[in-house]
């Protein structure tokens, strides 16, 4: 059979399997099979692409053996490294790992553009040439930006670059990069000197770094999602250049899905995407805050545990601190004890709990918590007033009532979990520190709130022991 038809048919199958797989991934019941469907599509496409060896252009034929060997080696290294690192990564480190893999995709898209632009004697027509350059620009920004996002979330790069004129400098940089790209397209017709084309890619990579460095760690998930959309677009554009509809479809599906996901995340954090990229969250933390009345009242972990054992309804509001303390397994053990005693236990998840939307669900799932006792904020916020106990573990800003009432607070307007409406609130916390935003939390001073000080893991162990000794003594 003609290899070209076989390649086209394989890509058609891959495009179908990607879309069908993503569709299945959109429900928890079918999600696990969805990724396998999409994975099958990928295998078909990659295997079929080796049939390209039958249709390479005349000039490349003498190099075919070397090129095919290089391709196989590069595939093996990339696949092997990613497979091992993906199996090893901790669930808490998932956001930065996704960022890294995403940056690699952006780099691959930029590399496709670079090969086009560096090919001697290539005949360029204007539209594909402009698309090549725009795709390369977006891909390169996504690569270097994602690497910075990874380094920041992984704690390898700390602090944020902020100085007067930073925005102006970044703006100038971007205009210069784009200008150079357009010069290569319109004035040099794709045959610019090698140094100029190389300079274009270097500038694009530097811009990705400059754009990401000023953004704080709390906002990084939104940025990762944005770069995910960027890579999708870059892949779609380079797919057009290569006349490959599978790349065009997959790239554009991800480009639009990623854009929507970015907007949803930013909305959950009560911020706009431009606000995330162009302004500084931490800078407002030094503002004057109103006096908070009342005092923080500590309670013993065992007592708090026993009170929950005898409650009829308990709602748990977990935050990233729970995962940092690696306490989700102990938490679920405690939850099961309460459930055995007839307590109705539910989890309430704030949209930005964890490090990106849905991250906390993954962390709880890792501990074996079934997803049908985990509720989204809008589904459970009305139930807090019927709850005997609400317990906050490792969360802070997402339960601060100041977001509802205090107009001068930097988190004012952010949707929060209504834990303060429960009859009794317990807050498990290491010390008296503030949250990510640096804002004091009124909830801790409320009349119905008690503080359980200590490491989440140790606190939960004490709670489990207290409840167990109670039941053991009763028999």
């Amino acid at each position: 059979m003609n290899p070209a038809i076989l390649i086209d048919a394989s890509f058609l199958a891959a495009a179908f399997l990607f879309i069908y797989g993503l569709k299945r991934m959109s429900s928890p019941v079918t999600a696990a099979s969805g990724i396998r469907v999409a994975g099958l599509g990928m295998v078909i496409a990659v295997v079929a692409s080796f049939l390209y060896v039958f249709n390479v252009n005349e000039a490349a034929k003498p190099h075919l053996v070397v090129n095919a060997a290089l391709g196989a080696v590069a595939l093996a290294i990339g696949l092997g490294w990613a497979w091992v690192s993906g199996k090893k990564v901790e669930m808490t480190a998932m956001p930065q790992m996704v960022a890294l893999y995403n940056g690699m995709g952006g780099g691959a898209a930029a590399a496709i553009g670079a090969v086009e632009l560096f090919r001697p004697g290539a005949e360029h027509t204007l539209v594909p040439l402009v698309v090549t350059i725009i795709g390369s620009l977006i891909g390169a920004i996504s690569l270097s930006g994602s690497v910075i996002a990874w380094a920041k979330l992984d704690g390898r790069v700390n602090g944020t670059w902020r100085f007067t004129g930073l925005q102006a400098m970044n703006g100038t940089f971007f205009v210069a990069t784009l200008g150079l790209g357009l010069y290569i397209a319109f004035a040099a017709h794709g045959h610019a000197p090698v140094w100029m084309t190389a300079a274009f890619f270097v500038l694009a990579l530097i811009f990705g770094v400059l754009m990401t460095m000023p953004i704080g760690g709390a906002d990084m998930p939104v940025v990762i999602s944005l770069y995910n959309a960027f890579t999708g677009l870059a892949v779609g554009f380079e797919g057009f250049v290569l006349q490959n509809p599978a790349l065009m479809i997959a790239g554009m599906v991800v480009g639009s899905a990623g854009t929507l996901l970015t907007l949803l995340m930013a909305k959950a954090m009560n911020r706009s995407v431009s606000n995330v990229i162009f302004s500084n969250f931490g800078a407002v933390a030094g503002e004057e805050q109103g006096e908070i009345k009342g005092s923080m009242k500590p309670i013993d972990a065992g007592d708090a545990g026993i009170n929950m054992r005898y409650a009829s309804k308990v709602i748990i509001a977990p935050g990233y601190g729970l995962a940092v303390a690696q306490a989700q397994h102990k938490l679920y053990e405690f939850v099961k004890l309460c459930q055995d005693a007839g307590v109705d236990v539910k989890f309430a998840i704030h949209p930005v709990a964890g490090r990106m939307p849905g991250h906390m669900n993954v962390l709880l799932a890792e501990a074996g918590v079934p997803y049908d006792i985990i509720y989204d904020m809008e589904d459970i916020n009305g139930e807090f007033k019927e709850a005997d106990v609400a317990i906050v573990i490792g969360a802070n800003d997402t339960v601060n009532p100041a977001a509802r009432t205090n107009k001068s607070s930097p988190i004012y307007g952010m949707p929060i979990l209504n834990v303060d409406q429960a009859k009794q609130v317990y807050v498990v916390k290491r010390g008296q520190g503030k949250g990510y935003s640096g804002v004091e939390n009124e909830l801790f001073f409320a009349d119905n709130a008690n503080m359980v000080y200590g490491d989440a893991q140790k606190v939960l162990v004490s709670m489990i022991q207290a409840v167990k000794s109670l039941d053991g003594g009763g028999h």
Binding site: I19, I35, L79, A108, A250, A257, D376
Partner: protein, 93 residues
């Protein structure tokens, strides 16, 4: 040839498809889905492979090699982490 308007039709329909798929997803799946869509654009490895196979100079071979390596990392890494996350979701029934 996928000339101008045909390409625009493909892009437009693909964009709507992506929007519709994500629009109905419960937020508990946002992290795996971001990772899953990250995996899907790993298809870029196929384009990089095409560019590498058609390389005629050392410069093209080097860039193409890097492109395939990065693309393969994107696809394989995206698959592994997404599958690991989704495997953990289970119902109490």
């Amino acid at each position: 040839m996928l000339t101008g308007f045909i390409a625009l039709y493909i892009f437009m329909l693909a964009a709507f498809t992506g929007y519709e798929i994500i629009g109905r997803v419960p937020s508990i799946l946002h992290t795996p889905l971001m990772s899953g869509s990250n995996f899907v654009h790993g298809i870029v490895v196929v384009g990089a492979l095409f560019a590498l196979l058609n390389a005629t100079t050392v410069t093209e071979q080097v860039i193409g090699f890097v492109g395939v390596l990065l693309g393969a990392g994107n696809a394989a890494g995206g698959y592994v982490v997404t599958e690991r996350m989704l495997q953990m979701f289970k119902s109490s029934k």
